[in-house]
Structure formats: structure tokens, C-alpha cells
Symmetry: C2
Subunit: 298 residues, 2 copies
């Protein structure tokens, strides 16, 4: 079998970002860490870690870390069946997942917390656009993800979650200044929009559907769901917001829809490794239940 | 002088992430874009763009994009003095800045919106840890940043903003389960903490100050200020929160301080390029005013 002391050293270096911190986390000396990683690299025949600030895994290193994560999940199940095997103090395993920012800011966090409060895990949540979280799964960086893609990644199951409903909204003052003559290709090409990051295509999709052609939108980039709402209320731009995040603002009139009854629904899916453990099954149950009450079900 | 049509093509490819989208943004054909970039690469004698999904700038490409940003800012000032020079419809310049997530989620967004609503700019906000935003400045990826570092980056001015006050807090139920026998090195080594990302050292610093030694904290990674609060209230872990974000929760008892009167103050600074334009000066005025009323002044 593989040398798991060396693999644990590798995983610690990648997680902690430095040899010193990895040594502290494993209660060994930094030279023990670097010796173990050197041995592993000799065996594999290539570099596993790019030494730097922080230390990063190479492609091969990442594959090995992913293997360590999976073995740990299996060990965790074993500990539940044979508690005497479990280490003193009950070590928690890391469970890496990826989720889109708007889900994390709304329905996902309570479900995640409910699961993590009871399960012997440490969640490692990565945030990316719903169009890109499936790449995290494919590359093996995470074991489960909320994604826009229904097609299961290799070795994964895919379950529909329902759709996140987005509304195009702006402040009343912004509407008066930029859309006084109506919302169309002309005014959209001049009024500043807000996008979450350069991958965010929601505003462009909404405008395309409205105008039946591509409109080049001027855009501010603002990667924070909270700041996104604050900045829209303050009149910095228009943007697509999860309905749940702006319901109160629409109610009290601090935001209004650009064009009434033009929601954009983004179907989301939960994908998770098929070979994964009963821990993933428990998380899946929480996620599905929360999604079914928070998202639009068709 | 340099060929600015080619430089604009390069900046568009890097901003949009693909040759097709850059072509659309500049209303030219994709082959015109790739020809301009090839010419530029021949002149520079090296690659400027790594072709991929998305296309990324090389080190040299990034330096050129930074130059384009600065020239555009100078042009913008010229347009204010000589409006006839300004293009039809008043093209807005992009102003890239970096800010820490907690500032963006609290005091920063309203100030930014107030500035952007009036100024002819499109803000491009990048989010990183306050210990790392100064690297964005140094590498020239942004023209201004909120940072923990007081020492000006090369070519920058640095102004103190005051300190962001953090409080270590958890839910009453979590306190009972994990800190029933008090908060110390032993209980902190077992109770799950929340960290924003793997660079987030606030929890470790707070624990070190309390226990007078390093404590290895088990940690969930949760990169969203909103989810961070939600998950803490739901009992997933303890963590350091900006006082402003949890004041209501402390008031109504859904969160309590781990140890009363142990705030952690993180001094923040505003750094901005010295050669930059009057636009940056306007932003600086807004940022300083907002910080002086929202942050702890010593």
C-alpha cells in the first residue's frame, strides 16, 4: 500500500500552505515533513508541491490529496462502526465542496450548518459561479457541488435542486436617470450594470432575452452579494438579484423591477461523488430538503 | 508611441476572457483582435496572453494592461477639461481596486456606490484578505486598495482608515456544548472554528492572545461574510465577526461573546497610486469620510 504518513504530510502542506504550518498541524518537525514529501516525489517521479507563498499542489499532488480525502471519509465511516478505532478526541475529516455565492448567501448556509453541527466533519467551502463549480468537481478539488450543470461529472450523481429566481432591479432614482424613456437596447447600452465577477453572464442573458439581440453592457464588477444589494439601492447600477435577497427592498420601494414580470430562473443541481461515504448522503439529504422549500420547483 | 489600438485589444481580451467577446466589445472581428495581439507580441518579443478558458495575461501582458488603465484615467481627466474630445455617449473608464471582504460587506459599499454614481467610471472590485490586498497593488493589478499594511507600496500613498473591530462570538447552544468548562487552549483545540478562507488568521491570532501560545484550531472554511454569520447563529462554529455585522445578534442574544471584552482591532489603510488621476482623489475623499465614521479611530 501507499505510505499514508507521507500522504498525510502532503495533504497538510497543501491545506496549510507551508511546511512549517503543516509540521505544527501534525506535531512533527518541518524537516520530517520535507523528508516525507521528498520520498513521495521520488516514488511518484515528479514534483507534488510548488514551493512558494503559499505552497500549491501540482496536478499530480492534487490527485494524491483527493485520494487522501476519500480514504479519510472511508475511515470516518469505519470509526462509526468500530468506535475503538477512532483516534482520541475524535478527529474530524475535511469535506471539500463548491457552491455558488448566491446560494451560499441565501438558502445553502442554514442547511450546511444544520449538517455540520451534527456530523464529525470540517467543511471546506469554495465559492465560484454556478457555471464553473462543475469544473471543481471534474478536477477532483471538491467532493460535491451546487452547479448549473445537470449532466453528472465523471463518477458523480446529479440531483435537481429547483431554480433560483433572479429579478432585474434598480433604485427608483437610477430608473429615472437611466431608464426614463424605457428599458431597451439603447438605454441598456449606456446605463451601468452590476456584475458579480467577469464570469457573471446573468445580466447579459436577461438583456439578450429582453432585446432579442446581444447588448454590450457597461459594467461595474462587485464580487459580494451583500455589496451588490447595497450598491444597487444606492443607485450605482442595475443588476439581477436573487428574489429572496431583495424581497424586502421591493416591498418598501427602495428597489423596483426594471421590467415587471421578467424573472430569470437558473436551475441548480447537486452533484456528489458516487463512491463517497454516508457522510455525503447525510449532507445530500439536508441540501435537498432546504432546496425544495427555498427554490422554485417545476 | 505605442500602438494603442493593439493595447486596447489586449486589455479587452484580458478583461473579457476571450477573443470573441473582446471583438464584440470593440465592434471588430475576432481575427482583427488576434492580429493586433500577435503584432504586439512580436514587438514585445514574448507571449502577452495565455490562450485558454478564460484567456489570462502573462506577467508582461499584465504590465501592459496596467499601463492602458493609467492612460485611460489620464484621458478621462482630459475629457473633463476638453469635453469635445470625449467619445460619443461618454465612455467610462475602468478603475480596478481591491478590498477585504468584511469591509465590502459593511462600510465600504455605500461609499463606493456614492462615488460611482457621480463619477464617469466602471469600478472593478477584487476581494482578498486584508493582509493580501497590498500584493494586488504591488503587482499593478489594481490602482487602489484597502489593506492591513501601512507601508506604502511602490509609487503609492497610504492613508490610515481606522481599525475594524472584531468580536469572537458563538451561539448560546454552541457555548454550552463546547465551552461549558470555559474557553481555553483545551476547549479551543476541540471546538470547530469558522475561518473565511485558508489565509484567514484572525481566529488563530485571537486564540493566541487569549492562551499566550499557539493553539491548533479545527476549522470550517466558509468564504462568505453572510454565511459566516448565519452558520455561527446556527451553531456550526465560533468565529471573529465585524462588530457592525453582529450587533443586532448580540443585542437579541442569538450570539454571545466567547470571552467578554476581548475585541481584536485590525487597523486598515487606503493605498492608491500617486500618479493616478483626480478620479482617485474623489474616491479617496469618499472612502476616508466613510471610514472615519464607521471604523475605530485611535
Amino acid at each position: 500500500m501507499l505510505d499514508y504518513a507521507s500522504l498525510a504530510a502532503l495533504a497538510a502542506v497543501v491545506r496549510e500552505g507551508s511546511f512549517d504550518r503543516a509540521a505544527r498541524a501534525l506535531s512533527v518537525t518541518p524537516s520530517a515533513i520535507s523528508q516525507r514529501i521528498r520520498l513521495l516525489e521520488e516514488r511518484v517521479g515528479g514534483a507534488l508541491v510548488v514551493r512558494g507563498q503559499p505552497c500549491l499542489a501540482t496536478e499530480m499532488g492534487r490527485r494524491l490529496c483527493q485520494h487522501v480525502d476519500r480514504v479519510r471519509l472511508l475511515e470516518q465511516e469505519l470509526h462509526e462502526a468500530l468506535p475503538s478505532l477512532a483516534p482520541e478526541g475524535g478527529v474530524r475529516v475535511a469535506l471539500p465542496i463548491a457552491v455558488n455565492a448566491d446560494s451560499l448567501a441565501t438558502w445553502f448556509a442554514p442547511a450546511l450548518a444544520a449538517f455540520a453541527t451534527e456530523a464529525p466533519v470540517l467543511m471546506e467551502v469554495a465559492v465560484d459561479d454556478q457555471e464553473h463549480t462543475s469544473e471543481w468537481l471534474r478536477s477532483g478539488k471538491v467532493l460535491a457541488a451546487v452547479t448549473a450543470s445537470a449532466r453528472p461529472a465523471f463518477g458523480c450523481n446529479s440531483r435537481p435542486l429547483g431554480a433560483m429566481r433572479y429579478l432585474a432591479a434598480a433604485s427608483p432614482d437610477f430608473m429615472k436617470r437611466h431608464f426614463g424613456d424605457g428599458v431597451g437596447a439603447g438605454s441598456l447600452a449606456r446605463a451601468p450594470s452590476l456584475v458579480f465577477n467577469s464570469k457573471d453572464e446573468l445580466q447579459a442573458r436577461w438583456a439578450h432575452r429582453l432585446c432579442h439581440r446581444h447588448v454590450e453592457l457597461p459594467r461595474h464588477i462587485l464580487p459580494s452579494p451583500q455589496a451588490f444589494v447595497t450598491a444597487t439601492v444606492a443607485g450605482m447600477g442595475w443588476g439581477l438579484h436573487p428574489q429572496a435577497l431583495i424581497a424586502a427592498h421591493l416591498e418598501n420601494g427602495s428597489l423596483i423591477e426594471l421590467v415587471p414580470d421578467t424573472p430569470l430562473d437558473v436551475p441548480l443541481h447537486w452533484q456528489y461523488g458516487r463512491s463517497a461515504s454516508s457522510l455525503i448522503d447525510g449532507l445530500t439529504r439536508q441540501i435537498l430538503a432546504a432546496a425544495h422549500s427555498a427554490l422554485m420547483q417545476s
